[in-house]
């Protein structure tokens, strides 16, 4: 069975060559060369990213947007160039990109900003009324679930969930029934970090737009894996995390349509986001600065720009094709191993290079430990998606997630190792 996807036509990249750019992939783990299949948790970082940040810190480091001195000017230019580069990576204009510390922060920013609009701090078309509805899905990462629960609790809005079918696909019929006149916000992930399926986000956006609802997309698991053009997609707001897309920790992006960002009140307050301040009150700058209180993650932002340049140089089409090939091979082999149950094994869907699965009779922690003893790094647990696991009758799963630097050989070693799990623990015997 092969995953249906138009992009499979792109030529495959040479992962073995790319690996040379990632020093950590040369380490040995428990006496075996590392097979890193935990990129959905955090990606590894190429030398170009490490160098970009270090070059900045050793040659031009200074606080940005604040000083008149030469270093401050250079730093400001590099920082704003980084914004333009990262914005361009998702098809956006520089002023449509707000720096955040990561996707979790970006989603909280949106939820709290709407909360502030509601609490009358700044009259805005985004203010919620009690009984207004926020719609999310049953497959979200906690970061795209709990902020909405809290917003609903603070404002009296109602939170509803688009259900997921047994095969891991979102139930669009149910979505069409759920999204209606009372819907004010529709928040969904582009790609689930557990199922690896690319969701029908264009359809969700169309549904939301029919009812004038604001759309918020979690692009954490798509940004490093698929070509993205957020303005063309028509989504209102979207977030991603630097550390999952070859970039540093401590930085992420919030994309927003210009008119949407303009009408959202501030969230964090402090320096560099104001026009005037008296002891009694402050007035705020336009976006993106309005949302960037205090010293921004300057070094990490410059590192993230280098990361997306690296991704662009390899080519997102090529990366996607490569990862689909890896996913296809994994899926095919895992289906044949006795006692392995794949999550979200829907036919005919586009996916990224990750699979989560259950090993009959062996707890995920034990399975992961066994793989680790052979140098294979996977993630075990609920992957911050507890409701999704409960929906599929489990509390934890094993997840293998690939990236551009994983080779066919990595996948073969992984598959061989999975074959050994149940025998080691005497399961099914």
């Amino acid at each position: 069975m092969s995953t249906a996807n138009p992009e499979t036509a792109a030529p495959r990249l040479d992962a073995a060559r790319l690996r040379a750019d990632f020093p950590i992939l040369r380490v040995d783990v428990n006496g075996h060369p590392l097979v890193y299949l935990d990129s959905a948790a955090t990606s590894q970082k190429p030398t170009a990213v490490l160098d970009a940040e270090r070059d900045f810190l050793t040659h031009a480091n200074a606080a940005v947007h604040r000083g008149a001195h030469t270093l401050a000017g250079e730093a400001t230019d590099l920082f704003e160039d980084a914004r333009a580069t990262v914005a361009g990576f998702v098809g956006a204009a520089p002023e449509q990109l707000v720096w955040t510390s990561g996707a979790t922060m970006g989603l909280n920013l949106v939820a709290y900003s709407i909360g502030n609009a509601t609490l009358g701090r700044a009259p805005s078309r985004f203010a919620l009324q009690p009984g207004d509805e926020i719609v999310t899905t049953a497959i979200e990462h906690h970061a795209n679930l709990i902020p909405w629960q809290e917003l609903a609790a603070r404002t009296g809005a109602v939170l509803r969930h688009i259900p997921v079918r047994d095969d891991g696909t979102l139930d669009l019929d149910a979505a069409a029934a759920l999204i209606g006149e009372r819907t004010r916000i529709v928040a969904f992930t582009h790609v689930s970090n557990v199922l690896g399926i690319v969701n029908p986000v264009a359809a969700l956006i169309a549904l939301a737009q029919t009812h004038g609802a604001l759309t918020v997309m979690d692009a954490c698991q798509s940004a490093p894996h698929l070509p993205l053009d957020l303005p063309a997609l028509g989504v209102d707001l979207a977030v991603f995390s630097g550390h999952k897309m070859l970039g540093p920790y401590g930085v992420g992006g919030l994309y927003g349509r210009t008119d949407v960002l303009e009408d959202l009140p501030p969230f964090l307050t402090g320096g560099s986001m104001i026009t005037t301040v008296s002891l009694e009150a402050a007035e705020y700058l336009p976006p993106p600065q309005r949302f960037e209180a205090g010293t921004q993650p300057i070094g990490p932002a410059i590192g993230l720009a280098a990361a997306v340049q690296y991704l662009d140089a390899v080519g997102l089409e090529q990366i996607h094709a490569h990862e689909i090939a890896l996913a296809d091979r994994m899926g095919e082999a895992l289906r044949e191993i006795p006692g392995i149950r794949l999550l979200g094994d829907a036919a005919g869907v586009e996916r990224v290079g990750l699979w989560s699965f259950d090993v009959d009779g062996v707890h995920a922690h034990d399975a992961g430990q066994y793989l680790d003893s052979l140098g294979i790094a996977v993630r075990v647990g609920h992957h911050c998606a507890a409701p999704l696991h409960r929906r599929f009758g489990m509390t934890a799963s094993v997840r293998a997630s690939a990236a551009l630097y994983n080779t066919d050989d990595d996948i073969e070693r992984f598959i061989d190792a999975v074959r050994g799990i149940r025998p080691y623990f005497g399961a099914g015997s």
Partner: protein, 147 residues
């Protein structure tokens, strides 16, 4: 013995497959129950401890729950170990267990003191698994405060 085998000793796999004291006893006398959960993986345990009429001696420890072999074996071994010890002894045992497990491989658990549970010594080299092994012990600590 490979590193993996020092973690998954026979004894641990045995206990996890044949858990002792599994199934909660009726609540009678001075008993208290604690529910603990490992937020990362969702593993959970419910443990009940009964204290004898002297108010000091732990009479029986029963539990149920689901989780990895380390957490299951640890609960099973703990229940074996604690039957008949005093509150004070239990506290000391729990403290020593915690210290050894957090020692990143520096401290061993004495078999004469910890019985089968000494087989959990190897866990301390796997810091991600310390929480699994501790789950039942934290539950007992918590229950004893209220029993």
């Amino acid at each position: 013995m490979s590193d993996l085998d020092t973690l998954y000793r026979e004894l641990i796999l045995d206990h996890s497959k044949h858990p002792q004291h599994f199934g909660l006893a009726d609540e009678e006398g001075a008993s208290a129950t604690s529910h603990q959960r490992n937020p990362v993986c969702g593993d959970e345990i419910t443990l009940r401890a009964r204290v004898a009429t002297d108010g000091e001696t732990i009479r029986d420890v029963t539990w149920e729950g689901s989780g990895c072999s380390i957490s299951q074996a640890s609960a099973s071994m703990l229940s074996d170990l604690m039957d008949g010890v005093t509150r004070d002894e239990a506290r000391t045992l729990i403290e020593g267990f915690r210290e050894a497990l957090r020692s990143r491989g520096q401290l061993d658990l004495d078999e004469d003191v910890y019985g089968d549970a000494a087989a959990l010594t190897g866990v301390s080299k796997f810091s991600a698994r310390v929480k699994c092994a501790m789950l039942a012990w934290v539950a007992l600590e918590d229950a004893l405060v209220r029993a």
